[in-house]
């Protein structure tokens, strides 16, 4: 048995169980939970080494679990899974260390650590699984952990909510309690999972296996019949529906925004660095296989293309659409959440474009490398944000300002991460984002490309705006108050070190990227399941494209600097508030394009209305009424009426009255005949005889 592969995903589960068992032991429980994450992180290194050094570049090992369904407890670690596991395990460990300090004194720590470790185990399981159902198990496990951790503070105090308390848009409340947000996350993502599992079932129907490599190998078996019946496109969409929902792509994006009610460590790990990337990972895992289908089955190609075009379009739109909302957000974590969904949109754009361009691996790498770079700088941003919110005791950036003086290291860390997010060279974020825009351009689809370019400017704007408002702006009332009481200070080391080291990593990797990039990328793409031809990536910069993207970054950053750092700019900001049109545009963005409101007004209220009206008028009135009111009533009426109108006047009357009377009448008539006179009898006798004779003669 490959110890490293199994310990990578199994030990966090064991850690979760231990956290539950050691719940009475306080700090010991916390240490054990973090240690389990450390074991996992340190196991992921030799695992990756083993994968990259093996001739086939794969570690594949499995033990049967449910043979009739071909479900194995097994790992399939190719370079994609190996790298992904490394990233997930290390981020989990670092954020675990941060949590150790950040969550100190929380009353629900047993629950926190249980679900934290349970999440890490599930996430790694979904990355390493060698068959679809095991992957689905991990997938669902992350959903459960996410639900529980978003609602960690389920007593729903006002200060734990997301959104401005009391604010409504189109009459729909725009603030969300932790328990409400957890519910939203679960319902939204489970909708996608229905498609995922139906897709798994379809694959199983055609191939009789759930093993992921086998599905890649027998690609014709499922792609050909599906393509012929025109079902391939709907199938691909359904199969990937879980990925769209998990990665918060439009129209499933809403859950991620409100997921920010969870502890910030959770937002960093689950809702920025790892779980929301599961959808991207899904596409990284399966889009090479979809490409194989397009190559091997002629009829499949147009449908596969249509699928990739859809992914690119949705990704591009999500990138743009979520970035616009980040422009006006006032809550630090919300800015980051919008940004996360927007960046996930970039990754979808990359993978969608990958399927449309000549060199698929180029798009694949664009998505994959952006996944990694984003995981690193976004985790850093969130962790720093957690420290800042903790320090200023407010979630609003307007309650910050001037923090650069009091939290120098946090400022440094945040500044690096912001530059990386904005795509400023030579940071890591620059390299990965630039490749995405390059492949989007190559895809030949204008709209997604434009979304990608414009979003670059928006990203630079909102990132710098956030940095300025928190650190460089004039000190807010709140900050001044805290300073007076000596409450404002730098984060403790256990919290600072994780995010500072992540920010520095983002910087350093970026600086040496031209040197290490090609080799690193090569190790990430070659021999990935479904990618058969060797690919030799190189770091090159297309001057026209570089100029475009740098111009965008400059526009974004310049605007932010002008608006928030110069006197005339600040006047412009004020005047926006006074201009009706601009103010309503701002509200439109602030209230998330009213999409949340529309969901509630149409879908939630729609179902509630159908449910209530259906219960009142259909179930109670018609169904219940029919069986338990109408049928008894009609029976009773029939019985009363029958008794009054039929039984008594007809039946009873006939038998006991009419017939009796008839007999009496007949009797009396007969009696009349019986006159006792012989000649009468004779007359009748003769008459009768005549009648009989006539009858006989006649006949």
């Amino acid at each position: 048995m490959n110890v490293w592969a199994f310990s990578t995903w199994l030990v966090p589960y064991i850690g979760a169980l231990l956290a539950l068992l050691l719940r009475k032991l306080g700090k010991v429980r916390d240490v054990i939970a973090v240690l389990a994450l450390a074991v996992s992180a340190f196991s992921s290194i030799p695992l990756l080494m083993e994968v990259l050094s093996s001739p086939e570049r794969v570690v594949h090992e499995s033990f049967p679990w449910i043979p009739s369904l071909t479900v194995n407890v097994g790992v399939y670690v190719d370079p994609l899974a190996g790298w992904m596991a490394l990233i997930v395990a290390w981020l989990s460990f670092l954020i675990g260390v941060y949590s150790f300090k950040y969550m100190e004194h929380d009353p629900g720590l047993t629950r926190y650590w249980f679900f934290f470790d349970f999440f890490v185990g599930s996430m790694l399981l979904l990355v390493l699984a060698d068959n679809l159902l095991l992957m689905f198990l991990g997938w669902e496990g992350t959903g459960l952990a996410s639900y529980s951790l978003i609602g960690h503070w389920f007593t729903d105090e006002d200060e734990k909510c997301v959104g401005d308390i009391g604010r409504k848009a189109l009459g729909v409340p725009m603030w969300f309690t932790p328990s409400h947000s957890g519910l939203r996350a679960l319902v939204f993502t489970r909708l996608g999972d229905v498609g995922f599992i139906l897709g798994i079932g379809t694959l199983y129907y055609f191939t009789g296996t759930l093993s992921i490599p086998a599905i890649a190998e027998h690609v014709g078996e499922w792609a050909a019949p599906l393509a012929k019946s025109g079902l391939l496109f709907p199938f691909l969409l359904a199969f990937s529906l879980g990925a769209f929902a998990k990665s918060a792509q439009f129209p499933f994006h809403e859950w991620l925004v409100t997921a920010m009610t969870g502890p910030t460590s959770v937002s960093a790990l689950i809702h920025a660095a790892t779980m929301v990337k599961a959808g991207v990972y899904f596409l990284l895992r399966f889009s090479p296989i979809f490409m194989l289908a397009a190559h091997e089955v002629e009829a499949a190609a147009p449908q596969v293309h249509a699928f990739f075009a859809t992914v690119a379009l949705i990704g591009g739109f999500t990138a743009f659409f979520m970035a616009t909302q980040a422009l006006v957000a006032r809550e630090l974590k919300l800015i980051l959440a919008f940004s996360t969904a927007s960046q996930l949109g970039y990754m979808f754009l990359a993978l969608g474009s990958a399927g449309l361009i000549h060199e698929f691996p180029l798009g694949f790498l664009a998505g994959f490398s952006h996944l990694m770079s984003h995981a690193i700088f976004k985790a850093s941003l969130f962790l720093a944000a957690g420290a800042m919110i903790h320090a200023v005791e407010s979630k609003y950036v307007d309650d910050m300002g001037g923090l650069s003086k009091y939290m120098k290291w946090t400022f440094l860390s945040m500044a690096i991460a912001v530059l990386s997010l904005s795509g400023v060279p030579p940071l890591m974020g620059f390299w990965s984002k630039d490749t995405i825009i390059e492949v989007a351009k190559e895809s030949g689809m204008l709209l997604p490309y434009l979304f990608g370019v414009v979003t670059a400017a928006l990203t630079a704007f909102y990132s710098l705006r956030m940095l300025i408002k928190a650190f460089l702006f004039e000190e807010s009332e709140n900050v001044r108050h805290l300073v007076e009481h000596h409450h404002l200070h730098e984060a403790p080391g256990l919290m600072l070190i994780p995010y500072l080291s992540l920010a520095l990593a983002s910087l350093l990797i970026g600086v040496v990227w031209p040197v290490i990039g090609p080799g690193l990328l090569e190790s990430m793409v070659n021999h990935v399941l479904g990618i058969e031809e060797a690919f030799h990536p190189e770091i090159h910069l297309d001057p026209a494209l570089l100029a475009t993207s740098l111009t965008m970054v400059a526009i974004g950053m310049g605007t932010a600097w002008y608006l928030y750092m110069t006197r005339s700019g600040l006047q412009v900001v004020t005047s926006i508030q006074e201009n009706k049109v601009l103010k309503s545009l701002q509200d439109f963005l602030y209230d998330r394009w009213y999409i949340n409101s529309i969901y509630y007004l149409v879908i939630v209220n729609g179902f509630l209305a159908v449910s209530r009206l259906g219960y009142k008028y259909f179930d109670t009135l018609i169904i219940d009424g029919f069986y338990h009111r109408f049928i008894p009533w009609i029976t009773e009426r029939a019985s009363t009426l029958g008794f009054a109108k039929f039984e008594t006047p007809i039946i009873d009357e006939t038998y006991h009255n009419r017939i009796v009377k008839l007999f009496l009448k007949v009797g009396s008539a007969v009696r009349k005949l019986q006159t006792g006179k012989i000649n009468h009898y004779l007359l009748i006798f003769i008459l009768g005889l005549v009648l009989i004779l006539i009858y006989l003669v006649w006949v």
Partner: protein, 508 residues
Amino acid sequence: MILPIPVLFLSVVIPMVISLALPFVKDKKTAAYISILLLAIPFAVVVALSAMTMLREPIADPVFFSDPSLGKFSMLLDSLSAPLAISIGLVTTMVAWYSVPYMEHRFQEMEEEKTNPPGWGVYYMLYIMFSTAMMGTVLSTNLIEFYLFLEVSLLPSFLLIAFYGYGKRERIALLYLIWTHVGALAFLVGSLALGLTVGTFDYYDPVNLKPLLGLGDLLPTAMRLSVAVAILIGLFVKMAVFGVHIWLPYAHAEAPTPVSALLSPNLIGIAGYALIRIAYVLFPEQFSSLAPYMLGLGLLTIIYGGLMALAQDDFKRLLAYSSVSQMGYLLVGISTVTALGMAGALLHYTAHAVGKALLFTTAGVLIAELHGLRSISKMGGLAPKMPITAALALIGFMHITGIPPSLGLWSEVLILTGVANAAVKLNAFFPILILLLIGIGLSTAYSFVTMKRMFYGPESEAAKHAKEARSSLLMPMVIIAAVGLILFLVPQLLIEPMMSTLKALLAG
């Protein structure tokens, strides 16, 4: 394997007979302990026999009654009946234990209302007859035998509702009795028409250990469909699918809570099992041709039950409607006429048994500990005060919505894999996907909305005085939950043998 003596039959009948003496036991504790022990007998027998063979082959009693016109009476434990028998054994035994504190509360409450129901002995006698009769129904191999045990299960459950129920209990008990008899009657008419024509009422041959597949083909062609439909309608009424579901919310909501915990998951699901074991086996052709309509009916039931559940404020009534919806999942799985879907449906019987038993007992905990609290709008913020109850309820909801690590995940996966087969075959991939999105979306919504309304949020008036429930209420629930979680890890013990039996059955 044919057993040397009718162990299964005896394990069902002996507790039933002994229970007749329970009314003479005056001490409630003694009555309770005897009852738990009696119920443990069939449970232990079923588990032991299943473990011995790993369900790789059918196990049957020797024929203990046979008649030239009725056929052979035997009892059968195979991979199809085992999930049901084990669930019934588990839930009835644990809930008998749970009944001790719960009925204590109920008796007190009824005393305050100045009603004097029959005492502990009668309660446990009826409880045991009800429980063992369900076990007998599931293990039967003959239509008359099946019908007799079903009847025996109906009468005690009727009396349990009439004696110890809530609300207008006499009326509701009567309603329950009439409805289930309407169903039973349709089933009986179909059975008689079949049995009297073909000369046997067997649906399983207990001597050669084979289902009598296609027995209905011995009927004249013109009769086949109508006989099959009569049997199906009878089972649909028992299962409470959309249209004939309306008796269920009354009965399951107003029954004494331990009885609800038996009625809801255990009793109604038996009809789903009978759809495979009886309806499909006797009329495979007719069944397959009706299956697409049944699939539609199942999807409708899932959605409709979910919608109605969402409108409820009474927790027990919500659970009752949820059971309607859950029966939709069983029907959908079975109507795919695939080994996957059918195995999923039978496994879902077990998952639902665990989940719904946990949820009804949760309702019972709140009733017993918080002065008859049933209205969801009066709950809220209970989790900090009752963390274990909240965790158990969450595990219950996870079972009925198929979230790991609960057994419900596997049943959902199997059912949906079966549905994917049917959807591709029927060329209705897209409409079925949409209906499933709505149905599963609704199930998730009503489950977790309820979880939130009951346990999360600010402290309600009721939560102010709440504290964690007595361990005598919680222990049986913890065991039920543990079984569900453990079965999640070893589902293959049930799935493997089921799949091979069903594949053989469907192959003819």
